[in-house]
C-alpha cells in the first residue's frame, strides 16, 4: 500500500522526538545526588553543591483595618533633621 512509506517515516520521527523529549525532561529533573559506596560496608548518599533554599515568603493579608487604639499610638513624631551634606572642596 502506498501509505506504508509515509507511515513508516512518521513513526520513526515520532519515536525519535518523543524519546528525546522524555529523556531530556527526565534527566533535567533527576535528583541532584550521587550515591557513593563506602568501603563496601554501607551506602552513603552525598549531596553535591547543595545550596540552601530560602524559606518561602508568606504574604499575609494586611488589608484589615487597624483598631482605634493602634491609631492613637501611631502619632506622628518630630522628624529628625536630615544631616547636612558635606561639600567636598578641591583642597580636601
Amino acid at each position: 500500500m502506498k501509505i506504508k512509506g509515509p507511515v513508516g517515516i512518521a513513526l520513526v520521527i515520532f519515536v525519535v522526538i518523543t524519546v528525546n523529549i522524555i529523556a531530556a525532561g527526565l534527566l533535567q529533573h533527576a535528583p541532584d545526588t550521587a550515591t557513593v559506596m563506602n568501603s563496601g560496608v554501607s551506602i552513603v548518599s552525598v549531596t553535591k553543591n547543595k545550596t540552601p533554599q530560602p524559606a518561602p515568603v508568606v504574604i499575609k493579608n494586611t488589608t484589615s483595618t487597624p483598631s482605634k487604639a493602634t491609631v492613637t499610638e501611631l502619632q506622628p513624631t518630630t522628624p529628625t533633621p536630615a544631616p547636612k551634606p558635606v561639600r567636598k572642596t578641591r583642597a580636601s
Binding site: M1, I3, K4, V7, A10, L11, F14, I21, G25
Partner: protein, 438 residues
C-alpha cells in the same frame, strides 16, 4: 484517477477538513492565537480532530454500502481509500502530542516529558491508550504478514481504539485545556463519534443480521492446474444478479476453513445461475481449499466492483492478465461466447510463469471461435521473459486510442501501468482491479 474516484476523494477531503473549517469560522479570533504557544497548541488540537474524523470515515468506508461503492467507482477503490485514510489518521495522531508539547520546548523540558507520559488524569491516559493502540494495529496491518483471519481479528480492535480516542477528546478538555478551539466542539465530537461507532457496529454486528447473504452450495470442485481449483456454486434459493468481471465475498462453512468472508472474482458469464470462482492456493486460507467438499454450504455477499468491458464504445480494448488475475477475464470471455458478437476488437494478453500454470484457456479459446474480434495471446515468462508494453504495442498495433484492462499481482500491474503512462496512454483509459484489501 477516474472521475468517480475523484468524486469520492473530494468528498472525503471536504469531510476530513471539517474541523479546520469549524475552527476557522467558529474558533477564537486571530489575535488570540498569534503567539508560538497558541499556534502549536491549536495545530495539535486540529490534527487530533482531523485524525478522529479520518478514523470515523475509515469505518464508514468499510461498511461496503452500495452508494459508497458507486461514489468511488468500485469497492476495490473504496478499500484503497480506506487504507490511505487509516494510515493518514495515524500520521495525524502522531503529530498531535508532539505539537502540544512544543510550547514547553526548550524552556521546560521536564513539563514536556511529563506531558507525554501517563499521569493521574485518566482523560489523558485514554488518549495515550488510543495512540498506542492505533500505532500497534496499523503497524500490524502495514508491516506484518499475519494470517488473514488473525489480522482481521486484530483489526476489529480499532473500534475500541476509537472509543478511547473519543473518551479522551470529550474528557480531556476539563483537564488539559483552558481555551475553546471552536464553539460546538462537543457537538462536533459527538457527531463524529456517532457516525464512526454506528458504522463500526454495523460492519461488525449488524450487517450479517440485517442483510442475509445469499446461500449457495458447492456443486463441483475441479482441479484446473497444480495449485488452482475451480468451484461451481449453486444457489439454494434465488441466485444473485451480477455482471462478469465483478467479485463476491464468500464465506465457506467447512470445519477446516476459518469463517471470515474472502473476496473472489466471478469467472462465470453475467447472471449465470451458477457462479464459478477459481481459487489459487496462495495464502493461509486458500491453501486449505482442498478440504472443501461437494455439498458444503457457502454464503455469497455481493456482487461488488465495476470491472467490465461493456460501456466503452467501439474502442479497441486490450486486456492484460497475469497469473490468477485471469479470472474476471474468463467471465467476460464467457459473455462474448454467449453473445456471439463483438463490435470492437479485444486482445487478451495472458502471462504466466510456466506453461502448466495456464487456467481457463478452454473458455478463452471458445470465445475466439465465435468472433474474430477477440484474440488471445498466451505468454510464458520463463520462456519469453516479462510481458512488456512493447510486445503489446507490436501485436495490437500501437497503444494510443485503446482501453486497457489489467488484473494481476500488484508489481506486474504497476510495471505495466508505468510503461503505458510513459508511452502516452491517459490514466482514464487504464482500468484495474485490486484484490489486496488488507
Amino acid at each position: 484517477m477516474k472521475p468517480k474516484t475523484v468524486l469520492g476523494w473530494t468528498i472525503l477531503l471536504i469531510l476530513v477538513l471539517a474541523p479546520v473549517a469549524a475552527w476557522y469560522f467558529l474558533g477564537p479570533s486571530a489575535e488570540e492565537w498569534t503567539d508560538y504557544s497558541s499556534i502549536t497548541h491549536t495545530l495539535g488540537e486540529l490534527t487530533a480532530l482531523v485524525a478522529l474524523t479520518m478514523m470515523a470515515l475509515t469505518f464508514v468506508l468499510s461498511t461496503r454500502i452500495k452508494f459508497i461503492e458507486d461514489i468511488f467507482g468500485g469497492l476495490d477503490k473504496v478499500y484503497i481509500a480506506h487504507g490511505i485514510l487509516g494510515g493518514s489518521a495515524l500520521i495525524m495522531i502522531l503529530a498531535h502530542p508532539i505539537l502540544l508539547v512544543l510550547k514547553f520546548v526548550p524552556s521546560d523540558m521536564y513539563q514536556a516529558a511529563v506531558y507525554l507520559l501517563p499521569s493521574a488524569y485518566w482523560s489523558v491516559n485514554f488518549g495515550i491508550i488510543a495512540l498506542l493502540g492505533l500505532i500497534g494495529l496499523i503497524v500490524i496491518t502495514l508491516f506484518t504478514k499475519l494470517k488473514y483471519n488473525t489480522w482481521k481479528f486484530t483489526h476489529e480492535f480499532l473500534g475500541l481504539v476509537f472509543i478511547f480516542a473519543l473518551l479522551h477528546a470529550v474528557l480531556v478538555r476539563n483537564v488539559a485545556t483552558q481555551d475553546n478551539i471552536f464553539n460546538g466542539y462537543y457537538w462536533y465530537t459527538a457527531i463524529v463519534g456517532f457516525i464512526g461507532l454506528s458504522a463500526f457496529s454495523y460492519s461488525l454486528f449488524l450487517k450479517d443480521r440485517l442483510f442475509k447473504a445469499a446461500t449457495y452450495t458447492i456443486k463441483s470442485i475441479t482441479q484446473r492446474s497444480e495449485n488452482t481449483f475451480e468451484l461451481i456454486l449453486s444457489a439454494e434459493h434465488k441466485p444473485i444478479s451480477y455482471r462478469s468481471g465483478q467479485f463476491i465475498f464468500v464465506r465457506f462453512y467447512n470445519e477446516q476453513l476459518s469463517k471470515e468472508a474472502h473476496p473472489f472474482s466471478i469467472a462465470s458469464r453475467s447472471d449465470s445461475p451458477d457462479i464459478k470462482i477459481i481459487v489459487k492456493q496462495l495464502g493461509d486460507f486458500t491453501s486449505k481449499i482442498v478440504h472443501l467438499r461437494r455439498g458444503d454450504k457457502v454464503s455469497v455477499e455481493g456482487p461488488y466492483g465495476r470491472f467490465n468491458y461493456h460501456g466503452r464504445g467501439k474502442a479497441h480494448q486490450v486486456w492484460i492478465a497475469a497469473g490468477i488475475g485471469i479470472t474476471p477475464f474468463i467471465g467476460m470471455a464467457e459473455d462474448i461466447r454467449v453473445e456471439k458478437k463483438l463490435e470492437n476488437t479485444i486482445d487478451l494478453y495472458y502471462a504466466v510463469k510456466n506453461g502448466t500454470d495456464f487456467v481457463g484457456l478452454e473458455e478463452l479459446n471458445a470465445a475466439t471461435k465465435v468472433t474474430k474480434n477477440f484474440r488471445v495471446f498466451p505468454w510464458v515468462t520463463s520462456d519469453n521473459g516479462h510481458l512488456t508494453t512493447e510486445t503489446i504495442e507490436r501485436a495490437s498495433g500501437g497503444l494510443k486510442d485503446k482501453e486497457f484492462y489489467l488484473c494481476g499481482p500488484s508489481g506486474f500491474k504497476e510495471g505495466i501501468i508505468h510503461n503505458l503512462l510513459k508511452a502516452g496512454v491517459a490514466k482514464e483509459h487504464i482500468h484495474t482491479e485490486e484484490f489486496d484489501f488488507r
